[in-house]
Symmetry: C2
Subunit: 521 residues, 2 copies
Amino acid sequence: MEGVAAEAASLAGHLKLGKLIYLYDDNHITLSAATQLTFTEDRAQRFAAYGWHTQSIDDGNNVDAIDRAIRAARQETERPSLILVRTHIGYGSPHKQDTFAAHGSALGEEEVKLTKENLGWPIGPPFLVPEAVEQHCHQVVHRGRQAEAEWNEKFAAYEQQYPELARELRLLIAGELPPGWDANIPQFPADAKGLATRVASGKIMEAISQTLPGLIGGSADLNPSTYTELNDAGNFENSAMAVGDLQGSAAGGWSYAGRNLQFGVREHAMGAILNGLATHGGTIPFGATFLTFSDYMRPPIRLAALMGIQVVYVFTHDSLALGEDGPTHQSVEQVASLRAIPQLLVIRSCDANETAVAWRVAVETRDRPVALVLSRQSVPTLDRKHLASADGLRRGAYILADAPQAKPQLILIATGSEVGLIVAAQQKLQEQQISVRLVSMPSWELFEAQSREYRDSVLPPSVRARLAVEAGVTQGWHRYVGDQGDVIGVDRFGASAPGSVVMREYGFTVEHVCQRALALL
Amino acid sequence: MEGVAAEAASLAGHLKLGKLIYLYDDNHITLSAATQLTFTEDRAQRFAAYGWHTQSIDDGNNVDAIDRAIRAARQETERPSLILVRTHIGYGSPHKQDTFAAHGSALGEEEVKLTKENLGWPIGPPFLVPEAVEQHCHQVVHRGRQAEAEWNEKFAAYEQQYPELARELRLLIAGELPPGWDANIPQFPADAKGLATRVASGKIMEAISQTLPGLIGGSADLNPSTYTELNDAGNFENSAMAVGDLQGSAAGGWSYAGRNLQFGVREHAMGAILNGLATHGGTIPFGATFLTFSDYMRPPIRLAALMGIQVVYVFTHDSLALGEDGPTHQSVEQVASLRAIPQLLVIRSCDANETAVAWRVAVETRDRPVALVLSRQSVPTLDRKHLASADGLRRGAYILADAPQAKPQLILIATGSEVGLIVAAQQKLQEQQISVRLVSMPSWELFEAQSREYRDSVLPPSVRARLAVEAGVTQGWHRYVGDQGDVIGVDRFGASAPGSVVMREYGFTVEHVCQRALALL
């Protein structure tokens, strides 16, 4: 019933994933009701419409029939297979079979006893494993060991013949990065006009896609906007479906070796598929969409965080500055709500060079998901000769520039596209003899992982006049600006107008930053 | 492609919504590609599987064919209708037709000119409305006026015959509450054992479902857990589908007059359908699920907030205390991420009587959605003779009990199920001669809407020792506890064990509250 399953099944049919087999436990019962109350569609027909092979089994206790159906499904290599198996929940329980009571609660001691009697099963011991089952399990282990030995033998032969490729595969399986994987990542020269961090991200991906064969992913129908197409890396598609020069195709052909996943408008399935790729191993999966639409894939993002797996989210168009598409598309609360997810690393980089470091962190972080939050609009590439190195991103927050005086009167903190604003504001304030420290704070999570000493060195407890600027809800910022600080944020929805107009009207101007900063002194 | 559309279409087919007509603009192009890249399922067959009537039109410019198809769809009263209409995006544009370039960008002046020439349309004026079209529009207005007049006449006759029912309908359409609608809401007596706020919510809903005929809704397959079934209010189902005594059915029969919506396991569609009901008017729609699964319906929650419409979400099982289902089901970050959504009112009530006030607020709030966050586990029903009235909830936060001394040394703040904890902690601390103020803070949004004076009276700037206790992420709490305060929260995922064990292990004990409170002094 869940939409994510529909998205995934539609895509699996399109991709002709012939190895995929679903066993549908069709017990006619949901958590709270008979399925007849809410779910009377023809499932086999629906899956046939998706391009699936379907089979039905009337009796879920007919193991031979299930075995035959699985064999038939394996024979079918051009289409994924659905096997609908009619079962009975709580099978054999005299009072609970076929009722939702058997879904959420244990049967209870008495009903277990009655069920065993009913099924002709010994009452004790409570967990009886018949010898035949035990033997079967041993056989399964044995079969697995044999299969592993065969694979190892095969791989040894492969290694002999293709030492380079074998080494690459070993690295991928081990989850290790090839030496020099990041050597091609560009250094972006200082540039007042600069470029959007999504564009910088695209250039960085171009540089690492060649050295990281495990990098695989795509966008939910937004490649031209998210800049996440891997050049010449092909399309993950069934080769039989290839059409010359199809709009939206990546260069490099159609095959299952393609590393561009074309998810379609299916954010939720995209998130779930990325989790599957990550848990399979051998890959660094990424998925892209507009930041606002991260809402569509929160459940799989949460699961990635809970499982501690590496998935890279590329969330572009990260604020009001998205512009004309208006408040439905303008992210306001998404950065805060992503930060709320435990173990998820959220990085909102301020320029091209921070974005390069952010990608380094994302690739190196093997045990948790990372969300890269990127701008649609151009942002200046900061002059790192006069400002601190973008490597500071690794510590979550860092002093971008300090007041010439020993102790700053004021700390301006910002993330992402608003860092350019505080840099400009500092200049204006210095003209008024106000000594300002600038802090770029791309990642709360990385900052919180630093020592108290480091954190206090960036945000000294003695400097109370602090202003944070971020084009999103202010939630959570008071922790960093403190009782005597202030936050310029957006605690309401956006508006439809050119991005620069919306940003100005919502107070993201150098003048407004200076004004609010001065009010703190 | 989006899962929410699949969920909704499946449910519409099940419900036999014969009045529903989808016009599917089948232009073979998505934002970034040809649909052939990602979406090759048989859409007509899929919708047929859902129980829809389907028709296909080869030429989207054949207005007569579309008109005939719509007429046929209207004739079909037992099934919703899908009309697949083959169209061409950017129709007539020599360079952009059938390309995704026509999706996201304007054609541009030159291409508009070429398109007009190509279609034999006058180049100027830029917005030409031919006289025939204008006349047609006038006719439409005329037809609408006539229809309205007829309806008014009909309604006047109805009013003559059924004055009581007509009055009720008028109130519903006007969005006004009938006098005495809340008269039956119980007062819950003080009780140390108490009851779960979800159970209290169920009793309150029972009391108001009779007086509020516009109250309509249900859960995503969780009625026995969310306590959101409206007694005897029937099932919103097609009467032809009625089956005697079906598991999960509400009492009161199957018909479109039923007020229990059986959503199935379709949270996202549930959220979207609630928005449809709210914008239609005449209803107070509600939807229920576990708090964690609010993640599945964030996009429609966001839209409800953006549109400023009344939808009531009943989110139960609101913390780690959910217990054995484990971290996938235990909400940790959801309260924070809901609070991040602008204009959404989030209320986490602490006991049965606060829950009653929360429901009052939810029903009275006509211009924004309200999320009621409720506990699975029992919480004490506070003794309001010795503590402040639950009406304080209306102000978001209120002094539940004050120190006997003039000025408290310490403020303990909590929401929901953790309020019981701070009440117990206060007793312990008073024994040590520490004067403690207790603040129940069920809603940040309501509190922020109060005057500075009121807010300072609850949380006086001069009292810096403040401890907030909430079984969720600490994000955002520093705003209320301040630089010298502390927060007991959960900044990681939960764990699988009985709820009381998890809560204890995560520090939600009177002892831990006292210990952290003392450390502030």
